[in-house]
């Protein structure tokens, strides 16, 4: 079984985001990055399927050289080799353009299974995986929360809304988008980190024609969300004083107890 897992590098969850000068994205220069959460689970599932059925796991990531840290971490956790789609200005690709570039990068691998997270933690389009499935001619299932893979078919549990679920049977090859929390993610071992140094990372360049195509959706302006409520901030940096004040206000002002 050949599994390709698509992983995206995004700004660290706890990072303080600063808007860039043109107000079209965030300032990335001194930011710390990590793998988008659900993509980490997609890798874990890929490794588990390989452990059950044999084969290999190929990790694919797109972006500037900094995304090598995501790739190396995936290799240290047990992926066999990697494809790095290298480019500096790929953040603003539309989901269709991104999916086109990524589908081109993995098409010749002829994977039996492609896995990725259900959406990225930055743009959050939630589309790239599904569009890739269409471009690669693969059946797909989204928001997968449990997975039983056999040599020639899949049984997947999809999460629906409000606590509902649904099982799908589907043939291979196929593409799945994975929900966070599907399993416990393993850590990289020291042995894994050492072994990763010898693993292949193939660099590919995206098609200039696709990257240069005018996008059908364009970010005009990025800004802090308008507040829906006027929040009373209490304590002014002193959490204990704020807590005492909060207890009073909940009692006398909000009258909730």
């Amino acid at each position: 079984m050949k599994i390709v897992v698509m992983m995206k590098q995004v700004a660290n969850k706890d990072a303080i985001l600063r808007i860039n000068k043109d107000a079209t994205w965030i300032e990335e220069s001194d930011l710390s990055f990590e793998v988008s959460e659900s993509d980490g689970y997609a890798l874990e599932e890929s490794l588990r399927v390989r452990e059950k059925l044999g084969g290999e796991v190929v990790v694919c990531s797109m972006g500037p050289q900094r995304v090598k840290s995501v790739i190396k971490d995936a290799l240290a956790r047990g992926a066999d080799r990697a494809i790095h789609v290298v480019g500096d200005n790929l953040t603003h690709l539309s989901p269709f353009a991104a999916a086109t570039v990524l589908a081109d990068a993995i098409r010749d691998e002829k994977p039996d299974l492609v896995m990725t997270g259900l959406q990225s933690d930055d743009h959050g389009y939630g589309q790239t995986g599904v569009i890739m499935a269409e471009l690669l001619g693969l059946p797909h299932a989204t928001i997968v929360i449990e997975l039983n893979a056999e040599a020639d078919k899949l049984r997947v549990k999809r999460e629906l809304e409000s606590g509902w679920y649904q099982w799908y049977d589907m043939p291979l090859p196929a593409l799945l988008t994975i929900q966070s929390g599907i399993s416990q993610i393993r850590y990289a071992t020291l042995k894994g980190i050492m072994a990763a140094k010898k693993k292949e990372i193939k660099e590919v360049t995206p098609s200039a024609e696709v990257v240069g195509r005018p996008s059908h959706q364009r970010i005009e302006k990025v800004y802090l969300p308008q507040k829906m409520k006027q929040t009373q901030l209490l304590g002014n940096g002193d959490a204990k004083a704020g807590a005492a004040e909060l207890a009073q206000k909940l009692h006398t002002e909000a009258r909730v107890f």
Binding site: L17, T142, E161, R218, L246, A247
Partner: protein
């Protein structure tokens, strides 16, 4: 030339998803400004009753796309059927609500027209004859205004709750056009949807909820939140990461994949407020947020906030509440 806004109506066994009615409201508002007519599409094997119901809204027409293979939802069948409706009606815009089902099939559909969707929009307005959409990015920390360039059709999805279903105007009865669509091979075989073993905890009836998120750091710290819940006579709940880590059972999870609640008081401890969580609790009466990150989106909807260390604030809050209630 392409014209009009086509609204997708999602349903379960012929019963409309009420969030689809929100998409009708969005289309009516923007359509009237753009002077573009609104129509709706229903896909299914036998959904004429639903089509008639939707025809009661202020729309130009309802297209009822039928095929036996549309009886059970699959992305393959829905993309095939919907694609034909779009090619026949040539709309300028396709509006959908950003539900799990739409997320499953609509990107595939849009890809057949060489594009993606402007997805999960929280609002939209008309500017210079174009629609400007706003979406949340970075898990709710920032907003982005997005303009659609290029050829029609434009695919857009709206976040559940972005518009209200009661904003959708009724009409005098629109015609229903039934179209038999062709469906190719359907590769996935769905089984009937089900709920996990009955939820042991019904948080929808709780007056007070104390919810914890990543900021609680360890399972050992849950006692802190439990004591606060006890002092308030409330229930304990959590955001998704806490239940994923199995620190609390899944029937305590609040958000799009868990329970939707609206208690009198909702206390969010160390919860940043990703949209998936907010949709499950934003209608609570009084919302309190304690978080060390001043930019956490939870503060956008909080009535009271403490920016600081919850491990300092919560014990004091618990003690003070006990004092006021005479529990000490």
């Amino acid at each position: 030339m392409s014209n009009g806004i086509l609204v997708f109506i999602e349903h379960k066994g012929g019963v409309a998803n009420k969030s689809s009615i929100e998409a009708i409201a969005a289309a009516q508002q923007l359509g009237s400004e753009l002077q573009q007519p609104v129509s709706a599409v229903v896909l299914g094997a036998d959904v004429s009753a639903l089509a008639q119901e939707i025809a009661g809204y202020g729309v130009e027409k309802v297209i009822c796309a039928t095929n036996e293979k549309l009886a059970d939802y699959t992305p393959d069948a829905y993309a095939d059927g919907f694609e034909q409706v779009i090619k026949q009606t040539n709309p300028a815009f396709i509006f959908m609500t950003h539900t799990y089902q739409v997320r499953d099939f609509a990107p595939k559909l849009a890809a057949r027209f060489g594009k993606g969707m402007i997805s999960d929009c929280i609002r939209a307005r008309v500017e210079g004859g174009k629609i400007g959409f706003t979406r949340r990015i970075f898990l709710g920390k920032l907003d982005a205004d997005v303009i659609s360039d290029g050829e029609a059709p434009v695919f857009a999805t709206f976040q559940t709750g972005a518009y209200r279903p009661d904003q959708a105007a009724k009409g005098s009865g629109a015609p229903v056009e039934t179209v038999a669509v062709e469906i190719g091979e359907v590769r996935m075989k769905p089984e009937a949807p089900f709920q996990e073993a009955k939820q042991a905890v019904d948080l929808t009836k709780a007056d007070v909820i104390v919810a914890v998120g990543r900021g609680i750091k360890s399972k050992d710290n849950l006692g802190l939140a439990e004591k606060l819940a006890e002092a308030l006579g409330g229930d304990i709940a959590a955001s998704r990461p806490i239940c994923d880590a199995e620190w609390l059972p899944i029937d305590r999870q609040i958000g799009s994949s868990g329970q939707t609640v609206a208690p009198k008081l909702y206390v969010a401890l160390g919860i940043s407020g990703a949209i998936q969580h907010l949709v499950g609790m934003k209608n609570s009466g009084t919302i309190v947020a304690i978080n060390k990150d001043p930019e956490a989106p939870i503060f956008d909807i909080a009535d009271y906030g403490i920016v600081g260390d919850l491990f300092e604030a919560v014990p004091v809050l618990t003690e003070e509440i006990k004092k006021i209630r005479g529990l000490l």
